[in-house]
Structures are given as structure tokens and as C-alpha cells.
Symmetry: C2
Subunit: 152 residues, 2 copies
């Protein structure tokens, strides 16, 4: 699974396998085991108000969290491809987004993360909450939390 270590290749993977990401102009800015930052293009995601469509903001935040989980599980050899599903999400749209935007997510605090991996290893399935933010002019514009389930 070496292809996931280079962000260019991960971007290609996303665009090929989830074509709506290409339509949204998604680019991978960072994709480490600790942090994922995905960029979405303003022009691709504009709405009738000349701000970014809320559906696109939620979609790119979801992808960032999924990507972080995917890469961590692949790299630790826990995931057969395709064994992560999103269970639910909750998002607050605090300010309009009016430019290219970055959805960033970090690995959860160590205790929470290790508990998730332990349950996954023991029971063959586990659930974890991941959060992502999109900033605009130094403020959190979009606050996202997604719950993901993983199967071994």
C-alpha cells in the first residue's frame, strides 16, 4: 500500500475512486498519519450567493476525516480496502466561506485513539469520532464531527 504515502498519489486515488472529489477540485495538501489537510476550490463549489455550498464544505470535511482514518488503518495493516463506513455526522456552519478552503483534521487524543484500535483489534470492529475544521479569515467557519466505523 505504498501509494498512500505520497500525497500526489493519494489525491489521484481520491479523484479516481470518488469522482465527485475531482468535480470539487479537491487537492491533498497534507496527508500524514497525524494530520490531513484537503483543499477545495472556490470556483468549483460556489453557490447562488457566491459563497461555498454547505454540501461541499461538509463533503470535504468528511473526506479529510475518512482519509486520516484510512491511511492510519492501511499503514498499520488493519484495513482491507473499503472497510470504513461513515455512520453519522454533525456540522455547524458558523461563517460563510468565500475562497478556496482547507478542511483539516488531526488524529484524536492518544487515549481515545488507542481505545478505538484496541476495540477494533479485539472485536474486529470499532467506532471513532473524528473532527475537522474549515477556517475563514482566522476564524472557524465550519465545525464538523463525523462518526466512522471500521471493520477488520
Amino acid at each position: 500500500m505504498d501509494q498512500f504515502f505520497r500525497k500526489e498519489d493519494f489525491e489521484k486515488y481520491l479523484r479516481e475512486h470518488i469522482p465527485v472529489t475531482a468535480a470539487m477540485g479537491v487537492e491533498v495538501e497534507e496527508a500524514s498519519q497525524d494530520q490531513v489537510i484537503l483543499l477545495g476550490k472556490f470556483a468549483n463549489n460556489i453557490n447562488h450567493k457566491k459563497t461555498v455550498f454547505g454540501g461541499s464544505l461538509h463533503a470535504v470535511a468528511t473526506l479529510a476525516c475518512w482519509s486520516l482514518l484510512h491511511m492510519n488503518l492501511v499503514r498499520s495493516k488493519r484495513e482491507a480496502p473499503g472497510e470504513i463506513v461513515i455512520v453519522g455526522s454533525s456540522v455547524n456552519f458558523l461563517h460563510p466561506v468565500t475562497s478556496d478552503f482547507r478542511a483539516s483534521t488531526r488524529i484524536p487524543e492518544q487515549e481515545k485513539w488507542e481505545r478505538f484500535l484496541k476495540v477494533l483489534d479485539r472485536k474486529g470492529k470499532g467506532k471513532v469520532e473524528l473532527s475537522a475544521q474549515i477556517m475563514q479569515d482566522g476564524k472557524v467557519a465550519v465545525d464538523y464531527v463525523g462518526t466512522f466505523a471500521a471493520l477488520r
Copy 2:
């Protein structure tokens, strides 16, 4: 604002003003003041698991609710175009979606709806929760609730 009365024209409006809807293959199946049904194409919204990407499901559900609110406010002459914003949403993904899908939303119960309009008329702004569902094989696959704010 006669253009919003014909679903073909509303579909054209969505695709022109929110181009990601064209990328998602969104079609307007029904657009009355009581109910909106939007279709999303499977092929456009596929993911690496050959199911519909959760971001697309959430986006089309959001659009259905926004459309219902938009048309009601335009038709009752309350809305200057562009005066609805999404404040937040919460979605549960209960089953995978593996075909073209329909997000449907209905106008809320009368009491709730009239309270919203009353506050909007009196204070110049109001907030309302709208829900949408996406069915798969006779079961609710996606259960969506969005909170929208309207300004006069």
C-alpha cells in the same frame, strides 16, 4: 419569480448557480410548496466501495431542504434571493445507497411552520428545522435534519 414554478426551470437554476449539483447529476423530480424530491445519479456519486459517497447524500438532502424553503419564501414574497443560510445539520447514514437516489423533504407540521413564518415576519429573521430522507430498498438509508435561517 415565475421561473420557480416549473421543475425544469428550477433544475436549470440549481445547475447554473450551484455547479456541483450538475456534477452530482441532480434532477428535480418534484418541487411543490409541500414537497421537494431531488434525484442524484449513482454513477456521478460513486465512491471506492461502489456505494454512494456520504458527502453526496448529505449534499442532495441539504439541497432538497433548501429548495423547499427557498420556493416557499419566494412564492410568499418573503425572500429576496439569497437570504437563506444553512446553520447546521445532522445526518445518520443507516444503510449504504447503491443506486440512483432520491432525497425527499416535506413542509413541517403546520404549527411549527406558522411559528417560523410569524417570527420571520415580526423580527425579520427566523430559524427552522427541516428533515429529509433517502430510501433504499424500502428502508430509510439516510436520515437528515438541517437548520436553516432566513432573513427578510
